[in-house]
């Protein structure tokens, strides 16, 4: 223990030159692509480019679908996190692993899996189509489902972590004062985990906003219907690079805004 402290103190005085160099390269590796992007931006045309229908459509669709995906994730993901944190059921660690799967899985694989399951001839999508005539791919529902699938794990692990770390005694205290289980949840538990819930929702929304692979595989790509910002960037790269760059810049700004939000709401508490 004392050795560790000593070497840490020595380390802060003179960091090893190799680490400084490698770390510096690490930083450059992150910065250079951003500089490359900024170098491509046609600043004077930017307002006109950002006003084009393809951009406006993609922005509208991205906002709508990412907010819808976040809400859907909250409605089904927070209860799942609560079950994982509070109920000791058989196979809990297996379920926890399953919840994490979309984080590790390449999104295009998730999209293919969604297509096999919820496509017009899929195991669930087939009967759904026969009964209701509803087709999920190529619709905004498909976009929302793909985004929810890849982004919900962020919410579940953040909220589950907060619930696990929560001191049970607050909830017990509420219960002994006569509050019902719903009241405890609403008046005690949720307010206590509010910062984590907020951070989880922002992370989920940001992941949903950036979602590409599962969306294009499951929901397809059509301007105004399923073409979100990342899809519009991808398609524009092959046809109109100025638009692709303008859209990319827009997404970088959104990402920075998310980081600033997270810094104030969440990172400070770490």
């Amino acid at each position: 223990m004392s050795d560790g402290t000593a070497s840490r103190r020595r380390g802060t005085r003179r960091p090893p030159i190799l680490l400084v160099m490698l770390g510096g390269f690490g930083l450059l590796f992150l910065l250079i692509p951003l500089m490359g992007l900024l170098g491509e931006v046609a600043w004077s045309d930017l307002p006109e480019l950002l006003g084009r229908p393809v951009v406006v459509d993609a922005m509208r669709l991205s906002l709508l679908s990412s907010v819808a995906a976040t809400l859907l994730a909250a409605v089904i993901g927070v209860p799942l996190a609560w079950l994982l944190a509070k109920v000791d059921f058989p196979g809990r660690s297996l379920v926890r692993g399953l919840v994490l799967l979309p984080l590790v899985l390449p999104p295009v694989v998730g999209g293919a899996a969604l297509l096999f399951a919820l496509g017009r001839r899929g195991v669930v999508g087939g009967p759904l189509h026969d009964l209701t005539g509803l087709v999920l791919p190529f619709s905004i529902w498909g976009v929302v489902i793909a985004a929810t699938f890849v982004s919900m794990p962020f919410l579940v692990i953040t909220v589950e972590g907060a619930l696990t770390a929560l001191d049970d005694r607050y909830e017990w205290a509420g219960a002994t004062l006569g509050a019902g289980r719903w009241t405890v949840l609403r008046r005690v538990t949720l307010p206590l985990i509010a910062p984590s819930l907020g951070a989880g929702l922002i992370l989920t929304w940001a992941r949903a906003l950036g979602e590409f692979g599962a969306t294009i595989t499951f929901a397809g790509n059509l301007q105004g219907r399923t073409q979100t910002l990342p899809l519009a960037v991808f398609v524009a790269l092959e046809s109109d690079r100025a638009i692709a760059v303008a859209l990319s810049l827009l997404m970088v700004l959104v990402a920075l805004a998310v980081l600033i939000l997270l810094r104030n709401r969440w990172l400070r508490s770490l």
Partner: protein, 246 residues
């Protein structure tokens, strides 16, 4: 350009890794030619054991960037004449390119054609789920040309980023129809059916081939190009549904 330099390094490593005794010939070919050129490589090496053909597949525009950046490419087979013209404009062709294969379009439908798609005229029916390749992707531009010639304003449900993605959605039955290359429906004939697009509407994609000037293996390269243009090479391509050279 930087990306091109990296690719050149990669290709140089690819070439230097292959065997020493035989003359190496680097052939850069469009991805859609992969099946055909793998078969051509085998046939060519059988009759020319002194040559080691090294195949480098990719999007034609990426291959162009590699060649312009100095890749040791001996032969370039492009899916698109415009891209070949860029290489020619840089003064890198040994001789003018020759068209060695053509491709046409076909309508791919799920097995059994459940929606009863009969032709291009069905592409404006909003009740069907229809897909094309996106604009800017060659198969997307060709498909729109065909529809325009047929006087059809398409009502599509998705603009797919490449022809394989489009074909997959047709195979799964999520789309009722999509416009792809004839060679694609032949390659996947066990899982998709196809509807013919009449010649009068059907544009022709031309694949040019050329020897690259500074490769240092021009004799070997010229012989390979003759082989592709000759009876054996053409037969291999015709088997896979390509139109062969005029």
């Amino acid at each position: 350009m930087k990306r091109g330099v990296l690719s050149v390094l990669g290709i140089a490593m690819l070439v230097s890794c292959s065997s020493g005794e035989r003359t190496e010939l680097l052939v850069s070919a469009a991805a859609s030619l992969a099946d055909g050129f793998i078969a051509i490589e085998a046939a060519y090496e059988e009759s020319h054991p002194e040559v080691d053909v090294v195949l480098n597949f990719g999007g034609s525009s990426a291959l162009r960037e590699q060649i312009l950046a100095g890749a040791p490419t001996g032969v370039f087979a492009s899916a698109n004449e415009t891209i070949m013209n860029d290489v020619a404009a840089a003064g890198l062709l040994h001789e003018p390119s020759q068209v060695f294969a053509t491709n046409r379009l076909a309508i791919a439908v799920p097995e059994g054609n459940p929606a009863g798609v009969a032709g291009l005229e069905d592409f404006d029916r909003p009740e069907l789920l229809l897909g094309l390749c996106a604009r800017g992707v060659p198969c997307g531009d060709f498909a729109r040309t065909a529809l325009q010639r047929a006087g059809v304003t398409p009502v599509v449900d998705t603009d797919e980023p490449n022809v394989r993605a489009l074909l997959t959605k047709v195979e799964l039955g999520d789309l009722d129809a999509g416009i792809v290359y004839v060679t694609d429906v032949i390659a996947r004939s066990s899982v998709v059916d196809s509807v013919v697009i009449p010649d009068e509407f059907n544009p022709t994609a031309r694949y040019p081939i050329a020897v690259i000037a500074r490769s240092g293996a021009q004799d070997t390269a010229t012989k390979f190009v003759s082989f592709v243009l000759g009876a054996e090479g053409q037969a291999v391509l015709a088997d896979r549904g390509f139109g062969v050279h005029e």
